[in-house]
Each structure stands twice: as C-alpha cells, then as structure tokens.
Symmetry: C2
Subunit: 392 residues, 2 copies
C-alpha cells in the first residue's frame, strides 16, 4: 500500500497541490481495538484522509493537519478540475505556501465521529448492520487523536515533523503532544485553547438544544427521513456568529438590507437585513454537508476537552510533551481569545517547554486562521523550517 499512499500528488503551476483524492483506510481490529476514554472499544474504524507532497527517504518531513469542528480531510487541492472550491486550507498548503508541499508530506484526515468518510454516528455499525446513530460510542479529543496517531503508524511514519491545527484542531494538536509525545517534533496551535471556556460550552449547548428540540431529530435515528435540518441550520447560525468578530460583521453587513432599499415593516419577512440572509444561507448550506449527530458528538468532545484533566495542573500535563510549540492567537477572536493562548503559553513555560507565541492582528475573528493566510505562512513556514533543520 505504501507506494500508493506515498505517491506524489499531482501539482500544478498555480501554487496548488492540484488534483487530489480522498483515500480510505481501515484501522484497528478485534485484537487491537481502539480503546476510548469512555471505556468503550471499537474494533474497526474507517478513516478518510488525503496526502499532499512527497514523503522523503527517512520519513522525516511529514506534517499532520488537524481540522476544526466541521472540517474534513480535503484540506488542499481539488478532487476534479470542475470543482468550484478547493480544500478548506488550500491557501495555506501547497507548493511554496505556508506549509510547502515541495518540502513536506502533508496528511489530513476526517476526525472520528465525523461525517466526511471517517467512521461516525451515521456509519454502519458492523456488529448490527445498522447505522450507529446515538449508539455510537461517546468520544473525546483524546479518542480523535488516538485514531490520527494510528493512521500515522499505518502510513509507516514514526515521527511527524509537526502537527498543525486551529480551533478544535488546535485542541487535537495539544492532546497529541501530551498523549503521544514521541510522535511529533513540533506542535502548531492556532486560535485554540487548552480547555473550552464556559462561554464556548454555552454556545455549543444552544446548538445542541436546537438539534435535540427539532421534531425531525427522532433521538438521532433520522437517516431515512429529513432529519433535524432546521435545528442543525440554527446550530450553525449561532456558531457562525461566534466565528466572526463584531467589527467584521459590522464592516461586511452593517445594517444594510437584503434586496430592498426600505424597511418592509412586516413580520412575514424573516430575512430583511443582509446579515440575516447571510446567516440563513450559511445554515442551509451547512445542512447539505454536515450530519446533526456528528455535530452533537464533536461539540461534546470540544466541551469535554481540558488538557489538564487527570493532572495536577496544566503545566504538569504539558511537561509530558516533547515538541517545540508555536502558539498563535488573533486579537479579534472572542471565542478563543488571546487570554486563553496566554494561559497555555504560561503553562508551557512553567513546564520548561520551548514555545513561540504571537498574537496576530486580523479583523476576521476566530475564522482568521482560515482566512488571513499570508501572516500565518510567515509565522509557520520558518518555524517548520527551523524544526526541520534541527533534525540534522
């Protein structure tokens, strides 16, 4: 399999990794099950993943990308020339880009519990022949990372050059650095935190309530029907607000009306302002690409995440890590504010770890790590290069 796995991804001249393919691999077995934090076990997990660039001879140039809450394995390139959109971090991953695929071999996989090819609540439970629905085992960020870690082993890579991720992806990076310290040499944590704050839990709770309260939810067993599409759209609407900064919403939409120059003065017109129309559109679009059960499981995994769990302190947990850390926050991110990155950096320093930290200035709020890629490239590129150089 390794020849197929490691074949060079087709590249084009425009700085893209070109046409890519999502591959699938089955991990774990009855003899070697995935042991979850809840105590459950899974004897088979299918993982959807993509790779870009070429693994070098000593397998020392592999970088693992951890996606955020609703991301997927398709981080860069296109699946077909006709695709309208590239992967979700295409501006950051590619030849000559922040994560330079001319130098590095990049891996990105859909998370456990997801709905983009990796085993999740919408998958068939091999033991029953039926979809898991809410019988899917409860999962944590540690479980997600345990699957990533297994994938890396399956790809024949002993040590990753770096693990990189933003938001929930950054939580995975942190968990990886602590739970599998031998497996990575550098950790890049963007717009994230060592635990989810109460306000984050609160917004997640609202999203879940919207799904649970939707009559289409049917206690999670909705795959043969319409499903909780109103609830899921609503969950996305409220989450989407938290991804944007107040200033960026004001600048982009302000109080401008949608398709009108004057107020309608009617309660029958639900989307009168552009910001309303935009949020409704985001909600509807999200329902087309995401599964409500996955949303429930993954937001809960986020809620549960607290890197210091089981340790006397955050610093003690981080003292297990061996990686060099790069931590970046965004000044306008109010979902994962800089103060939380500072707490992380303080604990890393207390633990005697190597850490670089920068608060980036960008108006786009939490989503900045997906949008403002040039400053990120200037930060991450040299950091990866230094880590690579330190190898010799």
């Amino acid at each position: 399999m390794s020849a197929e796995l490691l074949e060079e991804t087709q590249t084009s001249d425009d700085g893209s990794v070109g046409i890519v393919e999502t591959r699938s691999i089955r991990l774990f077995s009855a003899d070697h099950p995935l042991r979850l934090a809840s105590g459950s076990e899974m004897s088979s997990v299918t993982v959807a993943y993509e790779t870009y660039g070429t693994l070098n001879a000593d397998a020392s140039n592999a970088i693992y990308i951890c996606h955020a809450l609703t991301g997927d394995a398709h981080a860069a390139g296109r699946h077909a020339n006709a695709d309208r959109k590239s992967g979700w971090w295409d501006g950051f991953i590619g030849p000559g880009k922040g994560i330079d695929t001319n130098r590095y071999f990049v891996i990105c996989a859909n998370v456990l519990g997801g709905c983009q090819g990796t085993t999740g609540p919408g998958s068939i439970n091999p033991e029953t022949g039926l979809r898991y629905c809410l019988s899917f085992p409860f999962l944590t960020v540690r479980d997600i990372v345990a699957v990533h870690s297994e994938l890396v082993r399956a790809l024949g890579i002993k040590t990753l050059l770096a693990v990189v991720g933003g938001s929930l992806g950054g939580m995975q990076v942190l968990e990886w650095a602590v739970s599998f310290p031998d497996q990575l040499r550098a950790a890049v944590v963007l717009a994230s935190a060592p635990k989810l704050a109460a306000q984050g839990i609160a917004f997640n709770a609202v999203g879940r309530r919207a799904i649970y309260a939707d009559p289409g939810f049917c206690n999670g067993d909705y795959y043969e029907s319409e499903g909780p599409r109103y609830g899921l759209a609503l969950a996305r609407m409220v989450a989407h607000i938290t991804y944007l900064s107040e200033d960026s919403i004001e600048l982009k939409f302000g109080r401008r009306l949608q398709d009108a120059t004057e107020f309608a003065f009617s309660m029958q017109k639900e989307t009168e302002f552009q910001i309303e129309s935009y949020l409704h559109y985001q909600g509807k679009r999200f329902v087309q690409r995401f599964d409500a059960n996955s949303y429930l499981y993954l937001t809960r995994a986020m809620d549960y995440f607290d890197l210091s769990d089981g340790f006397a302190s955050l610093a003690e947990s981080l003292s297990r890590a061996q990686a060099r850390f790069l931590v970046a926050s965004y000044d306008t991110d109010w979902l994962f504010p800089t103060s939380q990155s500072r707490d992380l950096v303080t604990a890393l320093l207390q633990a005697g770890r190597h850490v670089s930290f920068l608060e980036l200035l960008c108006p786009f709020g939490h989503d900045s790590f997906l949008i403002d890629l040039d400053p990120l490239a200037q930060l991450v590129g040299p950091f990866l290069q230094r880590t690579m150089d330190a190898n010799t």
Copy 2:
C-alpha cells in the same frame, strides 16, 4: 381619574416602595389614533403601568422608566406581601435609592407589543374579536415611545424630569429625546446604543429563527395550543449568553458539572455542565412569562432602531433633542459595547447637547445595569438632583 392615578403609593421602612398595583389605561381613539411608523393606525391601545412616589404640586418631579426587551411595568415593590420577588429594578427605585421615590414620582409602563398587560400580538383585536397574532401592526421604537408619550399626557404631566432606561429601554430614551423633545428635561441612557449593530441583529435573527422554525409556532396563531415553547426557550438561551460577560460566565459556572463529579460520557445527558443546566432553566422559565409573538415584534423593533434614520447624521437627529443627557456603558458589555456609547456621546457633543458620560467597571456584562445598582445610584442620583435643581 387623576386622584386615583396620583395617589401615594404605600411605602415601607425597608427602602422599598412597598405594595404596588399595576394599573391599566386605554389610550387613543378613532378620532385620535396612534399613527405607527409603518403607516398603520390603532384606535385603541391598553397600557399597563405602575407609579411609585408622589407627583408634586407643579408636576415637575416625574421620572419615566423605559424597560428593556423582556421587562414589564412592575419595576419596583411587590404586588402582594407574599410575592417572592420584587419589581425588576427594585434595588434602584425606592425611598432613598438611586431613583428616590421620596423625591420623585416614577412611572413605568409595559411597552406596546408586549405581553404584560399592554396591547400586543396576544391581545384581542377589537375590530375582529380575535387575537391579533401576526396581524398585529408592525412596530418600531418610535411607536413604543409614542404610546409612552401619550400615557404621560393622560397622567396630566406636561414635562418629565427625566426618562431613564437601559438596553432597549435606552433606545426608547433616545427616541423620546429626539421625537418629543419638549416632554423631557433629562435623558439617562444606560448600556445602550443609537442603533443596533449587525452582531445584535444577528443574535436576534437566531432567536427569531428558533421561534419561526418551531412547529408549534403555527404562523403566530398558537394561543389555543402549546405554542413555540422550544423555539422561545432557545431564543432566550442564546440571548442570555449575550447578556453575560465571558468572565462572569467563567466565574459563575466555569467547567463545573451539574449533579455529578465525573463526566457521563453519554449523548443522552443534555445538561451535563452547570452552564448548560442554567441556560436550559432560563429558557424554560422565560417561556412561562413571555409570549413568542411579542419576542418577534420587539426584537424586530430593536433591529430597526437607528436614531439617525431620516436625518443626515446622528448628530443632526440629536440636535433636535433639548434634554441634558447622562450616558453610561459597562466595560464588560459586549452586546452594547462602550464604543457605541462613545459614538452617541460624540454625536451629542457635535450637536451641542449637554452630556455626561461614564464607562462603569462591572464584571456582569450587559446585565450590569440590572445588577450593579450602587455605582449606578451614585451616578444617576446626583444627575437627577442637578436637573431638578436647575428647574428653579
């Protein structure tokens, strides 16, 4: 009627206005209808209101309180000795308090479109004998204030000493100062803004979507059934988050679990963290006291509010005002941040108005104006006294 209206409210020794009564008055007529901003007319509006303290001989000591989105006329005292809770601003209104009922005559009325005694979408339309539901005329902050203004005239008061309000109440104060400049000598605007920002519209849109999407909504005609109770509760949950500061949620709830010392590791447990349980409780409690249609109309009125509408600038609109202004914001209020109060104060200064402005330091976010009443009393008390003194 005036004797009854103006009778002294019973007071007690504990700094409370004592036992109070919500009164009801019918305003407007076919000959003198309420003309709404939408162009509609209403020939009859019932208003629920309360008064505290005694109107002096020249009716120069009357202060009008404008309540926020989900408030009501019951601002101070108790309706019965057995009441567990006092009015919503009882700590601020009473003998010797911030708004001293030993000196001032205080009026508070439920807003037009509300559901606590004043005509709203749940009221009977006299023309049809049926509840208005969504046939209730679309309303704006200006319409709400036009009803307040009429009530003041009906009470035989020509000029108010002051109009005071926070949040949506502050918007009413601003509108009053511009639309009926002769009717007030001072305007106290707390935790408010001269227009609702896009982020505020966004959160309102989410709340309305939750109500509209609830199958119990029945296009607003739900009074004989259960109604959109899940949707309304959800709307309250998300709004409630915006009323609190990130720090206050963190301090009050943090990541503490509800009724457990360990994680449940189960998707069947929806309220695992204390913050979740708290938000669910707030949602359920809200459904018991508030009407979903009123929520739709009043949030829309908030969305529409822009004091500069119809003027070349905010300063130009404020140049119509004659009142002395006191503007106060809270450092941790992210729904109506200090920057919005600063814009207001700048425009007031440009318009040549008298304005005092203070950013108060309080950890409780937007709700601070309902909670942290001593600093508010120290600010508002002397301001009212100065205004009163300037009368002579």
